[in-house]
């Protein structure tokens, strides 16, 4: 099948939905196509909505500059402040727009947005206790503006025309039909690489991230020659043990819940997720004072009912069923927490396809937004906002350039690669290959990172290429899973190489190297970018951190390095 669009958006989750809406609004007489491997009705991390925006920069509560500072500190200084500032200056307008589309945010009795403090310094959390309808609202808008939606098509590679993007290729995950889409500009919004590490439960799809997001966008951008950045800055989250979803301190915190050790003592000053926070969490787990818990059983009964009403209807609503199955209740028990598998995700940490303040990658015509783009700690509102920013710039770009040419040789070689597993249905089944690969990711890449261990891991990831070629698929669905294993393998190799190459420790637990336990600001105060060379090998580029637009004061620099509450009992009394 051959299709054509002015602008092609790949991934109809949070970022992609808004990108497609905004592009179509700007180009009503052109085809704006939204390609989705699932069905946009319920696809992506917000399948059941979200209980809040983690990073809304709202007038009267925070200045954009405060937010830029906070995220700079939470990322040990390695940020593109221009991009953060662009987000911080645009996010309030995005909230108003979502509000006008019918998204329900928590408001005070006077009708103001009801902002809560969860971060170390500022106030950025906007609750959405009725956030379960997010996807319905976005879909309605997508239909109304007339975006052309193609569900159940998974993109596998981007098309290139003399260095610029020319569209994408993929296949229908139900019919197996190979699809070629020509487009002047492509916005990638495929979410995180959530199937990198294996969850402790051993269940392949029991991940923190929505498991449709297997690193597709990272891999496609890499093969198109785009730069990716800080892939050694893993995503590792503090979660409900085994259930593997947020506990969720962001919801419980403003009601008086908090994280404690087995003795019931607080050990971190703030529950905002950062590498530094995860390091303290990891230390506590392994200190003899673990496990770590979310404590709510000191709260009033009606407060707990309110927390339950939110946590058991939106984001990960099956939480309540999980607790009930184990005979636990927020009223009487603390929630046992654990460390998630590793992943790549800028939504929560800082590893992604390198994008600037316009959402542009280093490949002309290729844009990226959301969890897979490099804007750190971008979360849900960042996905929406950068979806919109990408659309604005992609529209301008598409108006300027001529139609690209599709290279038949590229199409032929991709068709062969993609359809191969169907021609050998007796080959290795996808779930066995994936399990082994991700088990190796756990064994060899999980921090603390050891050089020799990562080198052995890298050998395994390279050797896995042979197994990937020998995978079989008995139907198009299995083909989808098999091609996802290719994305996961690419991400594992990139994560291993990037981790080995950065010979220092940074971002707390995310990049904690045993042989290089401290940060080396002389040599490594840089973004570490990588890209694919023409011969298929990986090259590294050190990109200097651009001069700050929001300078840090001397005393502020270390504030995220001082998250630990050293004498729990004494401090608990003081606050």
């Amino acid at each position: 099948m051959e299709l054509h669009a002015e602008i092609l958006v790949i991934g109809g989750g949070s970022a992609g939905s808004v990108a497609a809406i905004k592009a179509k609004e700007a180009m009503p007489d052109r085809t704006i196509m939204l390609l989705e491997k699932a069905n946009i009705r319920r696809s992506g991390a917000i399948t059941m909505g979200m209980d809040g925006l983690n990073n809304a920069v709202m007038p009267g509560h925070a200045e954009p500059e405060d937010y830029v500072k906070e995220i700079t500190l939470a990322n040990d200084g390695i940020v593109n402040q221009r991009a953060l500032l662009r987000y911080a200056q645009s996010s309030a307008e995005m909230v108003s727009e979502l509000d006008s589309w019918g998204v329900k945010f928590q408001k005070t009795s006077t009708g103001e947005f009801d902002m809560k403090k969860v971060h170390h310094n500022g106030r950025y959390v906007l609750p959405m206790p009725e956030g379960y309808d997010l996807k319905k609202i976005l879909c309605r808008k997508i239909r109304r503006v007339g975006v052309r939606v193609e569900n159940r098509i998974m993109a596998t590679r981007l098309l290139l025309d003399s260095g610029r993007v020319a569209g994408a290729m993929g296949f229908n995950t139900r019919t197996g039909e190979f699809v070629v889409i020509r487009a002047k500009a492509v916005i990638l919004s495929c979410g995180a690489c959530g199937r990198l590490g294996l969850p402790a439960s051993g269940y392949l799809y029991g991940t923190y991230e929505m498991p449709t997001n297997a690193g597709d966008g990272y891999s496609m951008a890499f093969h198109a020659g785009a730069e990716l950045t800080n892939l050694e800055c893993f995503q590792i989250n503090p979660l409900i043990k085994d259930y593997n979803g947020p506990a969720c301190a962001y919801v419980a915190g403003p009601f008086g819940g908090h994280t404690v050790n087995a003795q019931g003592h607080r050990f971190i000053q703030c529950d905002y997720w950062s590498g530094q926070m995860m390091m303290e969490f990891y230390r506590e787990l392994n200190s003899g004072k673990g496990p770590v818990y979310l404590k709510m059983n000191h709260l009033a009964d009606e407060t707990i009912s309110e927390i339950e009403r939110i946590m058991h209807t939106t984001e990960r609503p099956s939480r309540g069923q999980f607790h009930a199955g184990r005979g636990k209740s927020y009223r009487t028990d603390m929630v046992e927490m654990h460390i998630s598998e590793i992943g790549l995700c800028s939504g929560h940490s800082a590893s992604g396809v390198w994008t600037n303040e316009n959402g542009e990658t280093t490949v002309p015509g290729l844009y990226a937004a959301g969890d897979m783009a490099s804007i750190p700690h971008n979360y849900l509102l960042g996905a929406f906002t950068f979806g919109k920013i990408c659309a604005q710039h992609a529209v301008e770009y598409a108006k300027r350039v001529s139609e690209p040419m599709v290279d038949p040789a590229q199409v032929e070689s991709e068709r062969d690669r993609v359809l191969r597993p169907l021609s050998q249905p007796g080959g290795f089944p996808h779930h066995q290959v994936e399990y082994k690969l991700r088990r190796m990711v756990n064994d060899y890449l999980q921090p603390p990172k050891l050089t020799t261990r990562m080198e052995i891991g890298l050998e395994h990831f390279i050797r896995a290429k042979a197994d990937l070629n020998d995978m079989g698929a008995r139907d198009p669905h299995e083909l989808m899973r098999a091609m996802e294993v290719h994305f996961i393998r690419d991400c594992a190799e990139m994560a291993a190489r990037a981790s080995l190459n950065r010979t220092e420790s940074r971002w707390g637990l995310y990049h904690f190297r045993v042989e290089y336990p401290v940060s080396d600001n002389t040599n490594w105060f840089v973004h570490q970018n990588l890209r694919r060379k023409a011969d298929g090998t990986i090259e590294f580029i050190k990109r200097p951190v651009a001069p700050y637009v929001v300078p840090l004061e001397k005393g502020e620099r270390d504030s995220y390095g001082r998250l630990r509450i050293e004498a729990p009992a004494a401090v608990a009394e003081a606050v």
């Binding site: 009705r41 439960s201 609503p317 184990r326």
Partner: protein, 75 residues
């Protein structure tokens, strides 16, 4: 080629009496495409053990026929 057949405890159960023939809602909304329609009965069932226990299939079913259990390995 002979194939081994293994039994799995599947997280999603569809009440075959309640499921409406020809409906397909749960099959369409599932992000993992883990559900399918049995061509003989024209009712939905879980076809793959690939579930994020996210619950759209259950919430969107017009007949209240779907139950999402926490997958056994996590339970």
């Amino acid at each position: 080629m002979p194939q081994a057949i293994q039994h799995f405890d599947l997280p999603v159960v569809v009440d075959q009496d309640k499921c409406i023939e020809g409906c397909r809602v749960c099959v369409e909304v599932c992000p993992l495409d883990a559900l399918a329609i049995n061509p003989d009965t024209r009712k939905a069932y879980m076809a793959r053990d690939e579930c994020w226990y996210c619950t759209p299939c259950q919430v969107d079913c017009p007949a209240n026929a779907v139950t999402v259990k926490i997958p056994y390995l996590l339970r």
